[in-house]
């Protein structure tokens, strides 16, 4: 029980730390981390294994999310490179469990997009399983078009929203 609280605390400080960093994303906006209170938190604790911060530091932010073409769910070369990087991490830390969140852009009907998000999350999951990550460590969830990261109604925004994002649970 105590370990869990400690982990949660580390996560909280790690999130605050993440808010201070101003890494320029290669091609995508940062994941929806709360950066409304950029107060510097003095801490000496390194991100705990399996925390989102630890995962992102290890694989790189850009590698934590794969993107899909309109209505598609296939893993292309770029996606597979990202997922291989993720698989390295999850092989290195076999106790880490994680969620793959599947999303769709707004240009689809609500129910179909829920099913499409689930299909995308499962594509990424199946690829990781093929790389040796046990399925039991991977949870999938679809948010359909309910949680966009890019808010415009244009091709560029939609491309950023058609995604499967890996989020660690620990």
């Amino acid at each position: 029980m105590n370990t869990r609280f400690a982990t949660a605390m580390i996560m909280t400080s790690a999130l605050a730390l993440a808010a201070c960093q101003k890494k320029a994303p290669e091609e995508i906006p940062p994941p929806p981390v709360d950066n409304t209170t950029p107060t510097p938190t003095p801490t000496t604790t390194a991100p705990g294994v399996g925390s989102m911060e630890h995962f992102l530091q290890a694989v790189g932010q850009a590698n934590s999310i794969v993107y899909f073409d309109t209505d598609q769910y296939n893993i292309d070369a770029e996606d597979s490179a990202k997922l291989q990087r993720q698989a390295q991490y999850f092989n290195q830390y076999p106790s880490v469990t994680f969620t793959i969140e599947g999303h769709a852009d707004e240009r689809g009907t609500r129910e179909y997009n829920l099913a499409l998000g689930e299909r995308r999350a499962n594509s990424a999951k199946n690829y990781l399983v093929s790389l040796g990550i046990p399925a039991s460590r991977i949870r999938t969830i679809s948010y359909g078009k309910e949680r966009p990261v890019a808010l415009g109604s244009n091709e560029s925004a939609w491309a950023q929203n058609r995604r499967a994002a890996t989020v660690t649970i620990n």
């Binding site: 949660a8 707004e106 129910e111 829920l114 099913a115 689930e118 199946n126 966009p148 808010l151």
Partner: protein, 460 residues
């Protein structure tokens, strides 16, 4: 350090507490409405032969035998009589039906005149039809409301009916009167005395709060069912209005719940770790259709509304989702991307004989069978318009032209279609409706943004 731990504990505890706690206070079921025969029954045939849009209808205040106190109105039955006539007038006017003139610009008939109109009073007002009515408080607190439709040219009663309602249901009596007038003059089935379930939306586009809400067909008696702590989507009223099925993320995953309006309790539609979407009722209320994704592959299942084992109806690779029963319960129209893109298919209610019906070159999504059986409404998910076609896929007509219109739902009589419209960039949503003819498009006022409308049948 101790302080921090306590703070963390509170943080960790709140999401747990939120689980299964998204429901607000139970709202309770409505009461039955008792229909009473007005003496003499039906007489006469309509004399008017012009366009029904031009038919003038005078709707003066309903009379009362004596101004009695009633829980339905702080000023008693006399004031209630005025409100009844106003509701009827709004029903007809807001739906573009006839040319109604409401009680605020008309004289008040006396109680005795309800069954014996003073023709000379109304003849000078240019109305072809006259609605009269009365309201009386009963000794048991309930109300008796009578509704009479007269043809001015014939000076004859066309139809009369009365209802006994609980004070809280007084608006239902007005809707029933509007339905009586509408049905008598058009020959169509009624639709005003019905309710709508939908999703109320607030907040920014990337963090919308989505709550299950219900309201009468005219937007009155609005109530939130969930608190908004977790996302709720795609509700459907059971045909008897006793339950709602809808999708909730209350346990962190998208799952279909059956919410019992009388008890305020809800249960999972199926005990499964898999996500479930797109719930639908059969017209007799005995079955619930839902769609479930297993390993990313979504299929349609049906389960008895009483619970029990689910039966899988589709097994094509790809997304099979949704489903809407024909009024006779024998067929189901559903959506599938088995051909590569969203298209509409029809199958028998046991899943046999699956065949594609949409071939127009556009995508077909969220098909909904008309309660009359003669049309299927759907979302054209290439252009995002609401369209209709015959059950064999013919005579496709586009009814709406918004930037993104989706999720059609039928009025109980199959003459009006509601849907929701999403605004470009802002993501703001609103409810709209349009006639089957493509005319009389209008937005429905809701307290906040709104999506996923589901129009229930005529209230029991």
């Amino acid at each position: 350090m101790k302080k921090l731990i306590i703070a963390t504990l509170a943080f960790a505890a709140s999401p747990l507490a939120a689980q299964n706690q998204d429901l607000g206070e139970p709202i309770g079921e409505g009461q039955e409405v008792e229909t009473i025969e007005e003496e003499e029954g039906l007489t006469g045939s309509v004399s008017f032969e012009g366009n029904l849009d031009d038919l003038g209808i005078a709707i003066p205040a309903f009379a009362t035998d004596r101004n009695a106190p009633t829980p339905a109105n702080a000023n008693g039955t006399e004031a209630l009589g005025l409100e009844l006539a106003r509701v009827i007038t709004s029903d007809l006017r807001n739906n573009g039906l006839f040319k109604p003139t409401g009680p605020d610009s008309l004289p008040k008939p006396s109680f005795a005149n309800i069954t014996a109109p003073v023709w000379s009073t109304w003849g000078v007002r240019g109305a072809e039809m006259l609605v009269h009515g009365y309201v009386r408080a009963r000794s048991d607190d309930r109300l008796t409301v009578g509704c009479y439709l007269y043809d001015m040219a014939l000076q004859q009663r066309l139809v009369a009916e009365g209802w006994v309602v609980a004070p809280a249901d007084w608006r239902r009596a007005a809707h029933k009167c509007a339905d009586l007038v509408y049905s008598r003059l058009t020959g169509e089935s009624p639709f005003f005395d019905s309710r709508i379930a939908y999703i109320a939306e607030t907040g920014p586009k990337d963090n919308r709060t989505k709550r299950l809400a219900i309201m009468d067909s005219d937007g009155a008696n609005h109530r939130f069912i969930t608190t908004g702590r977790s996302t709720a989507l795609t509700p459907r009223y059971s045909p008897d209005y006793k339950k709602l099925v809808y999708l909730s993320y209350v346990d962190g995953n998208p799952r279909i719940y059956v919410y019992d309006i009388g008890t305020g309790k809800q249960t999972l539609v199926t005990q499964s770790e898999n996500p479930t979407f797109a719930p639908r009722w059969s017209p007799d209320g005995r079955w619930i259709l839902y769609s479930m994704a297993v390993g990313g592959n979504t299929d349609i299942y049906r389960v008895s509304a009483q619970g029990g084992r689910s039966e899988r109806l589709t097994d094509a690779p790809g997304i099979d989702i949704g489903g809407s029963y024909s009024p006779d319960g024998r067929s189901i129209v559903f959506e599938s991307d088995r051909s590569g893109a969203q298209q509409c298919y029809v199958m028998n209610s046991d899943g046999s004989n699956q065949r594609r019906i949409s071939f127009g070159g556009s995508r077909c999504a969220t098909p909904e069978w008309s309660p009359r059986g003669d049309q299927i409404a759907f979302t054209n998910s290439s252009s995002f318009n609401v369209s209709v076609m015959t059950p064999s896929g013919g005579n496709v007509r586009t009814l709406t032209r918004g930037w993104q219109d989706e999720a059609p739902t039928w009025a109980p009589n199959g003459r009006i279609i509601q849907f929701f419209r999403t605004e470009r960039n802002t993501g703001k949503t609103s409810l709209w409706q349009v006639d089957l003819t493509g005319e009389n498009e209008r937005s429905l006022p809701t307290p906040v943004d709104a999506s996923d409308p589901a129009w229930g049948p005529i209230l029991p």
